[in-house]
């Protein structure tokens, strides 16, 4: 087996074992825009959630939203409503739905769908400008979605 083959095989095994616990993007059930049950069964980690929300290649939520508690990370966007007090406005299930695919909650939303693998118009390979192959890996992993939801739940006012 070539190195590439071994890697691919290992990757398959990895994805396979995760699939047992995780809901794949194409199998997520939305109820009125919300996702009732955890995507992984593992409780979200708010510290990891904070990192995913402020990392440009991951959630990059602060590109559009401001969050007072995340002021240490500079340049919050002004495009979308501040996320302070989000759990006072939305349930955990609704927040999970918004983070996974906001278009299910807000029709035609500008907010990207973070847990979706397709179909897209001219899907790319991340930020390379080259073609990607669907199903694309979602921008956030299932656990990162859970981590972000856990962080959002701390934003009570």
């Amino acid at each position: 087996m070539t190195i590439k083959g071994i890697l691919a095989f290992a990757a398959m095994g990895f994805a396979g074992s995760l699939a047992m616990a995780e809901v794949a993007p194409e199998n997520v059930a939305y109820t009125d825009g919300a996702i009732e049950t955890s995507l992984t069964g593992t409780p979200g980690d708010p510290v990891a959630g904070e990192k995913a929300m402020t990392t440009a290649s991951l959630g990059n939520c602060v590109a559009c939203h401001s969050v007072t508690a995340l002021e240490a990370y500079p340049f919050h966007g002004t495009i979308a409503p501040p996320l302070d007090g989000a759990p006072d406005r939305w349930s955990e299930a609704e927040l999970r739905g918004i983070v996974a695919n906001a278009k299910m909650m807000f029709d035609g939303s500008f907010m990207p769908a973070f847990y979706k693998s397709g179909p897209y118009v001219r899907p790319g390979d991340a930020y390379t400008g080259k073609a990607g192959t669907e199903p694309l890996p979602p921008i956030l992993s299932a656990q990162q979605v859970e981590d972000i939801v856990a962080y959002l739940m701390t934003l009570k006012e």
């Binding site: 500008f110 897209y120 390979d125």
Partner: protein, 287 residues
């Protein structure tokens, strides 16, 4: 599983909050672009008729940049793009290809190009093709000078583009959108509103719905191309409109289009027409 429209008061208040934030910082900087103290450039104008249902006023990207970036463009000595114009003049006068001719052999001085930048891209009557300045240059280079086509974003091409664009500085953009241009204009318009890539974002999502607002540290402009070619401080180099398009589509996590593609030619024609009424800036400065 169906997407639904915003359904409750809560969501309505979110939308309202969004509109209010929009109002707060949507204003482009109130300033006038006067170069070297005497050449006034029109950087703000009533929207062309075809845009009037979506916006009242069109603004050059100049209004959305920081004070020091705007200032650089007010003085040709400080404008780093002028180096490219000078280089363009050298290239204009240099012979190339099997015909051993220079641009000057047939066109005399670069002033002969006055006005062209304001009306391109346009559809060439004879061939029915969309022609931007780059396309005209390569037509002469290959069919009249016996040389290899210049790369769309190569240094010699950008130098000549800077030189030719400068000849129309201050002239009002007036790109034709009807007649033979109509099908290309429609194609470009459709692209402008298509939500590309994994981020599912169209040009309009950023440059029409959200101009004036900040996406992370970037102050969004209307994505006008009257200022192109642009000297981009971030790249320390000259950037063409189509090069900018390549980057903007790539940044939506999409498979982008080539800078010489027919798609981007159509898009350039359409985007140029959204700036009908603004002035050609020659070579502008952006961050």
């Amino acid at each position: 599983m169906q997407p639904r429209t915003i359904r409750n008061v809560l969501a309505a208040s979110v939308a309202l909050g969004l509109a209010v934030t929009g109002m707060a910082s949507a204003d482009p900087v109130d300033d006038e672009l006067i170069i070297d103290g005497d050449l006034k450039i029109v950087t703000q104008a009533p929207a062309p008729e075809h845009l009037q249902d979506v916006m009242d006023t069109i603004w050059s990207g100049w209004h959305f940049r920081e004070d020091d970036t705007r200032a650089m463009q007010m003085d040709d000595f400080d404008n780093p793009g002028m180096i490219f114009v000078d280089r363009g003049l050298d290239r204009w006068n240099a012979s190339m290809g099997t015909e051993d001719k220079s641009c000057a052999s047939c066109h005399e001085g670069p002033e002969s190009m006055k006005g062209l930048r304001a009306v391109t891209p346009r559809v060439d009557e004879a061939t029915g093709k969309v022609m931007s300045i780059e396309d005209y240059v390569n037509d002469c280079v290959t069919t009249r000078m016996g040389a290899e086509a210049l790369g769309m974003t190569s240094a010699p091409m950008k130098d000549l583009l800077a030189l030719i664009s400068m000849q129309s500085r201050g002239e009002i953009v007036n790109v034709a959108i009807d007649g033979p241009a109509a099908p290309f204009w429609e194609q470009g318009k459709e692209m402008y509103y298509t939500r590309y890539g994994q981020l599912e974002m169209s040009c309009a999502n950023c440059h029409e719905d959200n101009y004036g607002l900040n996406i992370r540290s970037d102050h969004l402009s209307q994505g006008q191309i009257n200022g192109f070619p642009v000297y981009r401080l971030k790249d320390a180099g000259l950037v063409t409109a189509r090069q900018r398009f390549v980057g903007c589509v790539r940044d939506t996590r999409a498979e982008t289009f080539g800078s010489g593609s027919d798609e981007f030619k159509a898009l350039e024609l359409y985007v140029a027409s959204r700036g009908n009424g603004l002035a050609v800036e020659g070579v502008s400065v952006r961050h």
